[in-house]
Amino acid sequence: MAVEQSQSTRPQLTARIPEFFKDPVTIFACCIVFAFFFLGFFGEYLAPYKITALDMTHRFGAPSLAHWLGTDNLGRDTFSRVLAGTRVALTVSILAIGASVSCGIVLGLLAGYGPRWLDNLLMLLLDSIYSFPYIMLALAAITLFGSSQFIVVLVVAITTMPTYARLIRTSTLSVRNHEYILAARSMNIGHLQIVLRHILPNVIGPVFILVSMDIPVVITVEAALSFLGLGVPPPAPSWGRMLNDGYTLIRQTPWLVIAGGIPLMLTTLGFTLLGEKLRDVLDPKLQVRRA
């Protein structure tokens, strides 16, 4: 029974926390993730230079004590822009995944718990969204509304939402006829209460794993859109835009590509490693298999 299962996993989870932090790879991943969040919130304040301050006399500067990662084509300090770029990546990933998860949970619960016709209708809608390439959606949205951080968030949220909705729907379908749900219904408890108090807590676990795995994907998508000129408009210091600048100016300086690429690579690596570890810890099926 699900309630029994969740109760029986709690001591195991607690027991696995020290093991979680014993793994050096996990500690490395946690450090990166912590650094990402820390710089996302405070990076702009730690930046040694104003990110939009132009200095045409010192452009394409190589790394030095004054400019740790050199300067770009407009003489702006690359290190400051990398730090400030973390906020763009963090904002887009948190807002996009927040919106995506929220909508995905609601639609997934409706599809899984609601009547069959609603399930079919929602699945048709979600599959249609899922099959739509995000680049095409971004192009259409930007043509209609212009490029902005909000549009990037919207595009990413819409394109990732079906994954969460499908996950919740599948889990809901598997628990909706369990005895404790049937018991709740026989006690005349309202549908909303059943969904929120009895179903949601039992289906939400895998969502956390998916979120941690999706954050690097979203960061990469934002960078890809910015690289293609469809993302956050200049002069916002997006890592993707820095990569684009670096690509066009690679003959002048290699540092822009390096400066834009390394944080992107590290963040992706950190979240992916952490996500995998979380999956190992939180996914009961994996634990059963191991046992």
Binding site: L54, I142, S147, P233, P234
Partner: protein, 519 residues
């Protein structure tokens, strides 16, 4: 079953033979086969000279069709005879010509005649055909055919751009009347029914490659050097540069941002060429937008922008400042701008106009040069208290933002970075800023009766000095409106193999069929 066996002795003999052939140069000649590999900045769309969509089409049409005259290659603007054996302006409205004898059409369409000339020119001038180049023959009355080879172009009024652009440009190309009349609507796009030029199309793989080979029926005199020209449509200049470095191209235009690097580092087995371009780039302000309606505000914005820094950021010193829309060397080029960079005056004027804290949007094409230029403009305007939001747009969106037919987007348009290509006649520059162009190509919505009158008068003025004065005044009117800040005419830079002798017009446009081998 028969098996293939390769003995060591046979292998060594075969290898030695291959190396030997290589040493005597046979494979080299075979590999090169007098083939030129060149980049075009876009794929062809319409090779019909009455409907060429861009220079990417015209550069191919140039090798396929003859005109009465053609633009000279080299550093000086001028023309020389092509299909015409004789041509002269007998009075301001009559041009008499006689074709070279023996010119032929491909595909068995016989000789190129004066009837073809009449058909071609009157076709472009016919409003029913709806050629976008109808204004190139704005004053054409008709073409009189005297005999198979001679005729007279009769104009209703004198037309100054006749020799500088019309006859030597797209509207001056001669198409085959007999072949055209067999086509539905007498139009074609990428399959030319008959050619008279030195080359013909062997194969076109859209978005990949266009192959030109010698036209066996060509009898126009000067012959082409290369047996075959492979034209690769590569939009991204950086990608073209990489293709050149990996020896996939023999000639390519390069970005001005790469020019300095190539100059500093040098090129192995290759050379660089630079030409002043005719195109013009400007910073514009929509004078009908409520935020920019006050001319004082527009003038203040003009003064707040440091054009030299903008150009330095965008072109890395590869382009000089423009003094108007007419490039140096053309009739009507201005010596200096009226506006000077003066941020203090800009601040005061904005304050006097009550426009402190003004918020505006700058729209521009999402290309590296423009993005850099826009960010400098943003910083300059921030310095005088104007808050600018940048709006980089893809080409499909950008080229419609000021067009009334494409919706109401023009109402929201405030600041923009514009760039127009140009032909070597000043009328080509001013034509897009007349009142009838408001909401078509004139996105600043600038409209001046004096400007329009001068534009019309200059078209009919054959005295270059008087004509020049008119164009100078017209550019003054544009600048004084506050809606324009002239940035640059850009420049054209290209790289090519040491073995190639490129043939280029004074603005660096390639004339493919005249490319040869370096001495």
């Amino acid at each position: 079953m028969k098996t293939l066996s390769l003995k060591r002795r046979h292998f060594l003999a075969g290898s030695a033979a291959t190396i030997g052939l290589g040493m005597v140069g046979l494979p080299t000649a075979w590999a090169e086969g007098k083939t030129l590999k060149i980049r075009n900045y876009a794929d062809i769309q319409n090779l019909d000279p009455a409907f060429n969509t861009a220079q990417a089409d015209a550069v191919i049409t140039d090798s396929l069709l003859l005109g009465l005259v053609r633009m000279k290659t080299g550093t000086e603007w001028g023309w020389e005879k092509e299909a015409a054996a004789e041509i002269e302006q007998v009075d301001p409205t009559h041009v008499r010509f006689k074709l070279k004898s023996g010119l032929k059409w491909s595909n068995g369409y016989g000789a190129l005649t004066a009837e073809d000339v009449k058909y071609s020119f009157e076709r472009v001038a016919n409003p029913k055909v709806e050629s976008p180049y109808i204004d190139d023959w704005a004053t054409l009355d008709h073409v009189e055919v005297h005999d198979e080879l001679s005729g007279t172009i009769v104009l209703k009024e004198p037309f100054a751009p006749l020799w500088t652009t019309t006859l030597q440009g797209w509207a001056g190309k001669i198409v085959c009347k007999a072949a055209m009349e067999k086509l539905p609507d007498q139009k074609f796009t990428t399959t030319m029914p008959a050619v008279s030029g030195p080359y013909m199309i062997k194969e076109w793989v859209p978005k990949q490659r266009l192959t030109l080979v010698r036209n066996p029926d060509y009898s126009g005199g000067e012959t082409a050097y290369y047996d075959q020209i492979e034209v690769y449509p590569i939009e991204d200049e950086k990608a073209a540069e990489i293709a050149f470095e990996s020896r996939d191209l023999d000639f390519t235009d390069i970005s001005l941002s790469s020019l300095k690097t190539y100059k500093d580092k040098g090129l192995q087995d290759a050379k660089i060429t630079e030409h002043p371009a005719l195109s013009y780039v400007w910073f514009g302000q929509n004078q009908e937008n409520p935020a920019l309606k006050d001319p004082k505000v527009r003038e203040a914005i003009q003064k707040a922008i440091d054009v030299n820094t903008v150009l330095d950021a965008a072109y890395f010193g590869g382009a000089t400042r423009a003094t108007g829309i007419i490039a140096p060397g053309l009739v009507g080029h201005r010596e200096a701008n009226l506006t000077k960079f003066d941020p203090d005056a800009a601040r005061e004027e904005l304050k006097a106009a009550g426009a402190e804290g003004l918020k505006v949007k700058l729209s521009f094409l999402n290309k590296a040069e423009w993005v850099a230029a826009a960010q400098v403009i943003q910083a300059n305007l921030a310095d005088v208290g104007v808050d600018v939001t940048l709006e980089p747009l893809d080409s499909g969106t950008f080229w419609t933002i000021g067009d009334e037919k494409s919706g109401n987007g023009w109402k929201d348009l405030q600041l923009l970075l514009g760039r127009f290509s140009m032909n070597p006649d000043p009328a080509w520059a001013t034509a897009w800023f007349t009142c009838k162009q408001v909401g078509v190509w004139d996105w600043e919505r600038f409209c001046s009766k004096d400007f329009d009158e001068m534009h019309e008068a200059a078209l009919r003025e054959l005295d270059p000095a008087k004509r020049g004065e008119m164009y100078v005044k017209m550019q003054d009117i544009m600048e004084k409106s506050g809606s324009y800040l002239f940035l640059t005419h850009e420049a054209t830079a290209a790289i090519y193999r040491n073995t190639v002798a490129p043939a280029l017009k004074p603005d660096g446009t390639a004339v493919l069929w005249r490319f040869g081998a370096a001495a």
